[in-house]
């Protein structure tokens, strides 16, 4: 047998051997090879030690009420109205990017609407300000005209006397 460590394709043979997952014939071949190969025997010794260390790690027992809690959650899900169920499904689907994207779309849409409404409001405002501008101009012109009329009247009242003296 060629040394399994010499080829990438066969290195898993040693892992499987130390995990005791090889069939009898292949396990015998690897075992026989390891007896004469110092590299493989060192590899197997280290791997067996890791295997034993990992074996010592026992997780804590599962809570007694695990099933009861799960069935409660299932029942609660079944009682939810369809839109809540859809929301839960979306959350369960882990669609986290959807929320920032939705917020971005809302901001853009809001900005567009504001801009659009602003455009429309500017026009009436402009019109209004135009109207008010016209009104201000007309009032000024009216004042000016009234002043002119008053001045003409004053001149008119002064003029006959003047002309009488001349005559």
């Amino acid at each position: 047998m060629n040394c399994p460590l010499k080829r990438v394709e066969t290195t898993d043979l040693l892992l499987e051997y130390s995990a005791r997952r090889l069939d009898a014939s292949r396990a015998a071949a690897v075992g026989h090879h390891a007896e004469s190969c110092t590299e493989c025997s060192a590899f197997l010794a280290a791997q067996t030690a890791v295997w034993d260390a990992l074996d010592a790690w026992e997780p804590p027992p599962v809570s007694m009420d695990f099933n009861r809690r799960l069935w409660q959650r299932i029942d609660r899900t079944a009682e939810l109205p369809w839109y809540r169920g859809l929301f839960s499904a979306m959350r369960a689907a882990n669609w986290k990017p959807v929320f920032p994207m939705a917020a971005a779309v809302l901001v853009i849409a809001g900005g567009f609407l504001l801009d659009h409404r602003g455009g429309r409001t500017v026009a009436p405002n402009a019109a209004t300000s135009g109207v008010s501008g016209v009104s201000i101009i007309e009032a000024d012109q009216l004042d000016q005209t009234l002043d002119d009329i008053q001045l003409l009247r004053q001149l008119d009242s002064v003029a006959p006397g003047g002309s009488a003296k001349q005559m």
Binding site: D12, R21, A56, W57, V62, F66, L70, A92
Partner: protein
Amino acid sequence: MVQGVNTITATTAALDGDAQLMLRVREGDEPSFGVLLEKYRNPVIRFVYRMVQDQAISEELGQEVFLRVYRSRATYEPTAKFTTWLFRIATHLALNWLRDGKSERGHQRLDDEGDGEMPVREVADRRPSVEQRMVYQTRLQEVRDAIALLPEKQRAAVLMHKYEEMEYAQIAQVLECSESAVKSLVFRAYETLRVRLAHMTRV
């Protein structure tokens, strides 16, 4: 038509028993879900626990795994082994939890958990001495730390290989990568563990 029916029958016959149970769940048979829950509750929670190293979180994620299985019953299609599908859900949830950085909070609670207790079977008939318990807990902590320091995918691959005794092909399906990639992940993970736990071999 007959050939089509034969193909379906052959496919159904080739399904593993768990997939057949899940198909019954799809048809509304809740007791079949109960059977699957009883069979895979402990393996799933043990796997998630070793991934996240927090008992409360592992049970919470375990609940989420089975809740998703139940919710997906209507659309379930037995395209792979049931355990492949189940562990793919469990792995995704555990990896998402780790990637969200929620593990920072979890590690603070490690010492409060009861899993540092030395198994009674280790000491035959008598209770372990204080010294034996301390040595055991130190070694256990080293093993947990060594696993926790592995990159997430290596960790998932090595846990499925070691504790769930999965074949490379099935791990590849769970992790959605090639079989050779899994071999590489597992080999590198064990290589790292051999270095990190080397001092334990000399004890």
